[in-house]
């Protein structure tokens, strides 16, 4: 159950942050648990509720906490979006260049489907981001789409 007094403290911290609302919610949920613990501790020591709240606020330092959280989490929302836009395209370009000659001409297109090296490169290009960039779930989903498109559009003319 939400404690209205702790919510006031959290709202004051939130007012000093400029993160995306999802990150703010996650960060404040975690902080709420710590504040509740600290408040219960203070009450167990026999402090009256106002004094216990004042001690919690002083112990955490509202401004310092907000600044610390802002510094730790700022930029991660943008990083998610940047990686989601950039990583699939970068990986797809690498895959295309592994399949083509550097001058852009098709290298052995008719044999492309039978070349184990192409499939090894294609599978590695798929699996490495899947396991390596697990945190970037949107980027990985985008990469799966582009991997499929790249493989289809590289091998389709060869198959014809």
């Amino acid at each position: 159950m939400l404690d209205p007094d702790l919510e006031v403290l959290l709202a004051r911290i939130r007012a000093q942050m400029e993160l995306d609302s999802e990150t703010e919610y996650e960060v404040l949920s975690e902080l709420r648990a710590h504040l509740q613990e600290a408040l219960a501790e203070a009450r167990a020591e026999g402090l009256e509720r106002p004094a216990a709240l004042a001690r919690v606020a002083a112990r955490f330092g509202l401004q310092e906490t907000a600044q610390g959280l802002q510094a730790t989490h700022a930029g991660w929302g943008t990083a998610d979006a940047v990686v989601a836009a950039g990583l699939p395209v970068l990986c797809a370009l690498l895959l295309r260049w592994l399949a083509f000659a550097p001058d852009g001409t098709a290298l052995g297109w008719p044999e492309l489907l039978n070349r184990p090296s192409f499939w090894v490169a294609a599978l590695l290009m798929l699996l490495i981001p899947l396991f390596k960039f697990g945190r970037w779930r949107y980027a990985v989903a985008g990469w799966v789409v582009f991997w499929g498109l790249t493989v289809v559009f590289v091998t389709w003319p060869a198959a014809r």
Partner: protein, 229 residues
């Protein structure tokens, strides 16, 4: 991550960001972050559009795309500064530079966000003229949003000046036209960015013609009126 935090502030809390530029707070840090991010984002976009031709074209466009925007910035920023000073602004050249860099950063972030879409069309369509016009459209839309940001920023920064606020707004409008004109000519001078499929890789093409006639010719070919040689 610090550099991306600056980008996040521009996108989420532009008023705060422009106020800090107006007050000259952390200009060097901001400019460094914007410069690094813009170069990386523009290079990736350049690599994508160039990869429709060849690896060399992709590498060349990855280098030329940041040069295009930064050279336009360098060429155009003194004009904005002197015109603003003439009409009562108390901002330094560095502050003007930071403001324009903000516009370029917004443009580069938007271009990055268009990268998967452009790459999707690169994979699934073969028409050179269509791809060229698509990129002109994407760059124009992103550039337009960038200068809108600059215009908002100028409005916030202008409140610090003593007089001539209205005149300075007109200066920004005039400067935006100038910036678009210089930018398009700079793009024409640094071409090719995509590379015609029928031609071999070239770092630069011969001078001649201009950006606008080429765009109209591409539209004409796409609509079937004539064929561009």
């Amino acid at each position: 991550m610090k550099d991306l935090a600056v980008i996040e502030t521009i996108l989420r809390n532009r008023y705060h960001f422009f106020t800090e530029i107006r007050d000259g707070v952390g200009l060097r840090t901001k400019m460094r972050a914007m410069l690094i991010s813009s170069i990386i984002f523009l290079a990736l976009y350049g690599a994508v559009i160039g990869s429709s031709h060849s690896l060399w074209q992709a590498l060349s466009s990855a280098v030329k795309m940041p040069i295009l925007f930064l050279a336009t910035l360098v060429v155009c920023s003194p004009t904005l500064y002197f015109f603003n000073v003439l009409f009562g602004s108390n901002q330094s050249l560095t502050q003007n530079f930071a403001l324009i860099l903000t516009a370029i950063t917004v443009t580069s972030v938007l271009l990055l966000s268009f990268t998967p879409i452009v790459f999707f069309f690169l994979l699934t369509t073969g028409g050179y003229q269509f791809f060229k016009l698509l990129n002109v459209l994407v760059c124009s839309a992103s550039g337009w949003m960038g200068v809108l940001f600059l215009s908002q920023g100028m409005r916030i920064v202008s409140t610090a000046g003593k007089e001539g606020v209205g005149a300075r707004r007109n200066v920004v409008r005039f400067w935006i036209l100038l910036y678009a004109f210089v930018g398009s000519q700079m793009a024409w001078t640094l071409r090719p960015f995509i590379g015609a499929p029928s031609m071999k890789f070239e770092l630069f093409r011969q001078l001649g013609g201009n950006f606008y006639t080429n765009v109209f010719a591409s539209i004409g070919e796409l609509l079937g009126f004539f064929v561009v040689r």
